[in-house]
């Protein structure tokens, strides 16, 4: 249901929108009756003379023009410039059930000018849906006809489960705090939706001012809102509706506040207060009734609500790092205000936090730095609304950014941490990263600045580090882990080779040196082996027809053996000399004879062409071999 006028922080009742309506002549008549005390009478008479001289004005208003079948609206009829109405007008409006809801009368005296205002209230309950017109009525006052404009009201079926947002539905009257001393014609209450809350969590405070329809105010009631120290306060929509309490009809004016605790601890919401003056009932047909009610039958009242204790809990300690105190059910979105990005061309990143909670107090979400973008201070803008119970809305943060490089630039995820008091835990909401395709600009911002400073023909360009990040992955091959190379057996064995080689070289060299130094010894030691080799060779030649090679080998084996043993040259060796040496060495006669015999046989074959049969050859061979072995032992 829409309201004709927005309710702000005003504590005084609001005058509804005006719409004219006219009544029949019999509804009222002007009266100037009663005895007037001297001083006051003169004054009031002057005032009423002034009021009488004014043109009567009749107007009407409805509290809402949009309502559902579950709703009711108040029709208020204001009549200015008349002092008395005998009885409430009897209205018949097709499409509505009309119930009278009381009459009020007030006077104003400003700068010597007096005006009177009589108001009639009616509660209209629709009986059908659609556009219903409250018809124009014509009223004759002092022979003059006054007409009101018709009022169109739109009635919809509505949702039975959702409470009306307008003024007429009586919300939660069953839970209304009724004064302990019993029902009174006028009283007020205050209540909260929860006695315990977290810091920053919304608490709904409802202050109700209830009056019976017939009650007349002598003056505008003065409302003082309760003391709400320790809370941020956000007034919600003011509501006015009728309600029945224990069968007694009441007009309820309800003021609601959304309270946001600022710190933990025990607090109290103070008393709300209304000061008012009411007329007590008098005889309307008594000639002194007006003055009785004006001077003698007005009762001054002060209504107060009871203070309400509230316990405020601290938020849980496991606060995430980026938590900035936001409490409520909040959602985060982020977008850019353009899709075309260019180096050096500014754009806005718009980060919006939206949801239920104290939207005005929300702080800027955390945005990780992006070196490829130059960032400036953000501008925030809040849109706050309420549904009569909860504060909701959104807060936009516009962050001005200027791309510094071309290519793909990623604005990382923006994170926002809030505490959800219903779920009792912190919730981190994050936007997806935004990838920008930045086109190369004509010049970067820095380049533009540089151009103004550097003379033409000179360049001061250099590498600019925009973002220091770790280097990318490596894609080399992986391999099974092995011991280090220097511990592997093959490596160690391979390294032994050059050492062995060098060692061998040393040994070889030593041997060589040794052999050189002790050549005679080595010659003597190897004499038999050399001689036996020749004997072996000679044995192979034994069957040959030519005996020369055979006997040549026998001779040389003996000669070289003896030469090696005596350390002399084998060539040109003389028997006499040889025999002398053999004798000196102790070689026996027999052996010497054998040597001589073989020596001669070889000479005979070589120089006299003598022939020897196989047996002789075998014999010579055997003797030579035996004597060599024997000599080797002696020499």
């Amino acid at each position: 249901m829409s309201r004709p006028e927005k309710i702000g922080r005003e504590t005084k009742p609001v005058i509804p929108a005006q719409a004219g309506i006219q009544f029949s002549k019999t509804f009222f008549k002007k009266r100037f009756t009663g005895w007037i005390p001297a001083f006051a009478g003169m004054t009031v008479l002057a005032a009423f003379s002034s009021a009488l001289s004014a043109e009567p004005k009749i107007s009407a208003s409805v509290s809402a023009t949009e309502l559902t079948m579950n709703d009711s609206i108040t029709l208020k009829i204001d009549i200015q410039g008349v002092q008395r109405i005998d009885s409430m007008p009897n209205l018949q409006i097709p499409g509505f059930v009309v119930q009278p809801a009381g009459q009020t009368q007030s006077y104003q005296w400003v700068n010597g000018q007096t005006s009177s205002l009589i108001s009639f209230n009616f509660v209209l309950t629709p009986t059908k849906t659609g556009s219903i017109q409250i018809p124009s009525l014509t009223l004759s006052i002092g022979g003059q006809n006054y007409s009101t404009e018709p009022i169109n009201v739109n009635v919809t079926q509505g949702n039975a489960s959702s409470p009306p947002a307008g003024t007429q539905a009586p919300p939660e009257t069953s839970n209304m705090n009724i004064p302990t001393e019993g029902l009174k014609p006028v009283f007020m209450t205050a209540e909260v939706d929860k006695p315990r809350a977290y810091v920053g969590e919304e608490i709904l405070l409802s202050v109700k001012f209830l009056r019976q329809p017939g009650l007349q105010f002598a003056a505008q009631p003065q409302y003082s809102q309760p003391e709400m120290t320790g809370f941020l306060t956000e007034p919600l929509k003011q509501q006015e509706y009728t309600s029945s309490i224990q069968g007694v009809p009441y007009i309820v004016t309800e003021l609601r506040y959304a309270l946001f605790p600022t710190s933990e601890g025990d607090f109290a919401i103070g008393s709300a207060q209304v000061e008012l003056a009411v007329h007590t009932q008098g005889n309307p047909f008594d000639a002194n009734s007006f003055f009785q009610s004006f001077f003698g039958r007005t009762q001054q009242l002060t209504l107060k609500t009871r203070p309400i204790p509230i316990n405020i809990r601290a938020l849980p300690k496991d606060k995430p790092d980026n938590f900035s105190g936001a409490v409520g059910r909040l959602k985060l979105t982020a977008k850019t205000d353009t899709t075309e990005f260019e180096v050096g061309k500014p754009f806005n990143l718009i980060v919006t936090v939206e949801g239920k909670g104290n939207v005005r107090a929300l702080k800027e979400p955390f945005l990780p730095p992006v070196n490829a973008l130059k960032r400036y201070e953000s501008i925030s803008n809040s849109t706050v609304n309420n549904d009569g119970k909860y504060i909701f809305g959104k807060k936009e943060f516009k962050i001005l950014m200027i791309p510094q490089v071309s290519g793909q630039v990623v604005i990382p995820a923006v994170e926002y941490v809030s505490f959800n008091p219903e779920a009792h835990h912190y919730i981190t909401d994050a936007t997806p990263p935004i990838t920008l395709s930045v086109k190369p600009g004509t010049k970067t911002v820095d380049e533009k600045q540089a151009l103004t400073q550097v003379p033409l023909g000179q360049s001061q360009e250099g590498v600019r580090v925009l973002e220091k990040d770790i280097r990318f992955l490596k894609t080399g091959r992986i391999k099974p882990g092995k011991p280090p190379l220097y511990w592997r057996q093959l490596f160690l064995m391979a390294n032994a080779i050059p050492f062995i080689f060098a060692l061998g070289a040393f040994i070889a060299n030593w041997q060589y040196q040794h052999r050189t130094l002790f050549a005679a010894h080595y010659r003597s030691r190897g004499a038999l082996r050399k001689a036996l080799k020749k004997i072996k060779k000679a044995r192979g030649l034994m069957a040959a027809l030519d005996p020369i090679p055979f006997y040549g080998l026998l001779y040389s084996s003996l000669a070289e053996f003896l030469a090696d043993k005596f350390g002399i040259s084998a060539s040109g060796m003389l028997w006499e000399d040889l025999e002398k040496r053999l004798s000196e060495k102790g070689v026996d006669e027999e052996s010497r004879a054998i040597i001589r015999n073989i020596w001669e046989e070889a000479d005979m074959v070589r120089f006299a062409s003598s022939t020897f049969d196989q047996v002789a050859k075998q014999n010579s061979l055997q003797k030579t071999e035996n004597v060599l072995v024997k000599l080797n032992r002696v020499l």
């Binding site: 220091k468 770790i470 490596k474 280090p484 220097y486 080689f501 060098a502």
Partner: protein, 252 residues
């Protein structure tokens, strides 16, 4: 067909099936290089948890390599865990001490730490890896002994250069040997990295002991002693030592 022939046929068929099954299994199960590539892909998609699991799986199976260790360090860094990132960069640096990427990332990962640079001598000693020094030493060793052998055998002609070469190689070999020894000494030092914050070093091996000092995540400390759940560590630069829970430190 007699029984012997039948058994033989069954055995051959079984062998064939088994070899087929093994072949199919090998073809279906990804090799270590494939797993490594999968981990790289996960990293590139920003799935660092999966990447780390796959990398660590490979490392746990005994695979190694500069790329593997370096990539593990990168994945940890991306996940915001500087301690393990530094640990794996250090391990990669052991394999390739002059890799500029590893050095760069290690510097970046350590930029929250107070700049306590290693001594020049240490840096020089670790300029070459032990493997490289081993190969160099081996080459000099070979050259020296081959030259020596040839010289002894008299295979080299010339009066001055063989001796000079031999002397040079010998000197180089001694230097390289000392270098390798020093390198092995340093890399076999029980150095650990604090892999978890806050690194509260206590005065004894237990929670009941007071916190003596704190070390930030990624700090290099010397492991002095080990107990089942506690490790005694030292910070030589400050002359401090104390005990850390064993799950907060890992040896390089």
């Amino acid at each position: 067909m007699n029984m012997k022939q039948a058994y033989k046929n069954i055995f051959i068929a079984g062998l064939f099936l088994a070899s087929f099954a093994i072949g199919a299994f090998c073809a279906s199960s990804p090799g270590p290089q494939d797993v490594f590539l999968q981990a790289n892909q996960a990293y590139e998609k920003g799935d660092y948890d999966t990447a780390i699991n796959l990398y660590l799986g490979l490392a746990g199976k005994g695979f190694e390599g500069v790329s593997l260790y370096y990539n593990i360090g990168n994945a940890y860094y991306r996940r915001g865990e500087r301690g393990p990132a530094i640990l794996w960069y250090e391990r990669a640096l052991r394999l390739d001490p002059r890799d500029s990427d590893i050095q760069f990332n290690l510097r970046l990962a350590s930029n929250h730490l107070k700049d306590e640079r290693e001594s020049i001598l240490n840096r020089m000693t670790l300029f070459l890896s032990a493997g490289e020094l081993g190969v160099l030493f081996s080459l000099v060793w070979w050259a020296f002994f081959i030259l020596l052998g040839c010289l002894v055998l008299g295979w080299l002609k010339g009066e001055l250069w063989p001796g000079l070469s031999l002397w040079s190689l010998g000197t180089a070999g001694v230097c390289l040997g000392i270098w390798l020894g020093a390198n092995l000494f340093l890399i076999n030092q029980p150095i650990g990295i604090v892999i978890k914050a806050p690194g509260e070093v206590r005065n004894g091996p237990g929670q009941e002991y007071a916190v003596g000092f704190t070390v930030p995540e990624g700090t290099k400390v010397v492991v002095l002693n080990r107990r089942p759940d506690w490790v005694e560590v030292g910070v030589p630069q400050q002359g401090l030592k104390g005990w850390l829970p064993s799950d907060e430190i890992e040896q390089i």
